[in-house]
Symmetry: C2
Subunit: 150 residues, 2 copies
């Protein structure tokens, strides 16, 4: 936020598929910890495409006038769910985090968001997954991916 030249932001949207806990959402806690108080804040879960959906949603909240600025945060801790001995995933997935500040501004401003072409493919839902405990009674909830098909 310092590099964006502001101390305050109107909302926070957090993209993650590896939150510390399923409930509550992490975005309100992030907002509180960075001193932003009770701003609108929620989590988006969309795995690899999470940052893009979060950017689109955050930008749309500004366009719709619901807030005038949004801090988009994305973070994953795949080291928690990746089996370090599984070469099909361990060499590709790790931990990382980033953040982007979005604010209202003229459409022709440098850096303005232009357009999105978003999509999904639910037919392949089985091809990449973190199993639930009941699917993996051994307790090992390793992330699995059918790499070539994905």
């Amino acid at each position: 936020m310092r590099s964006a030249g502001t101390d305050t932001v109107g909302g926070l949207v957090f993209a993650t598929t590896t939150p510390e806990r399923p409930c509550p959402a992490a975005a309100p806690e992030i907002a509180y910890r960075i001193g932003q108080g009770r701003i609108p804040a929620f989590d988006i879960s969309a795995v690899c495409s999470g940052f893009l959906y979060t950017m689109a949603s955050a930008g749309a909240l500004i366009t719709a006038g619901i807030t005038d600025s949004v801090l988009v945060v994305a973070a994953e801790a795949y080291s928690r769910v990746v089996d370090p001995t599984d070469r099909s995933t361990a060499v590709l997935f790790g931990d990382g985090a980033g953040a982007v500040m979005l604010r209202a501004g003229p459409a022709d401003e440098p850096g303005a968001l232009l357009a999105y072409d978003l999509g999904s493919d639910g037919e392949g839902a089985e091809l990449i997954r973190i199993p639930e405990p009941r699917e993996q009674p051994s307790g090992e909830r390793w992330f699995a991916m059918a790499g070539r098909k994905v």
Copy 2:
């Protein structure tokens, strides 16, 4: 969708805190199963306020012109995480699902969305939670709430 008078929709946003699995998101699979193919689809996680944040985000995606209609779906299966012997939660939290179709239209149309006043309070993140396995090595991941404080 039938009652909304349409067979197709431009996007789907799904609010849940109790997904069947953390990865992949459920929205693309819902979109696929209801015959909507590869539309933009993602999950939002915000517990009780999930439906409101999802309505606001879905409406904003339409206002911003990213899509012309969105199916907002919200579903929770709290029976999976609520301890049936805990009277502070078991009498309040259960399972349920609902859906609303949003589409572009005139601002003065009956049923048009007017405005939102959204907020959060991350300071209270410890007051209501589903623990992660490492927090509860016994394997019982019961949802817990400090009722009076919440």
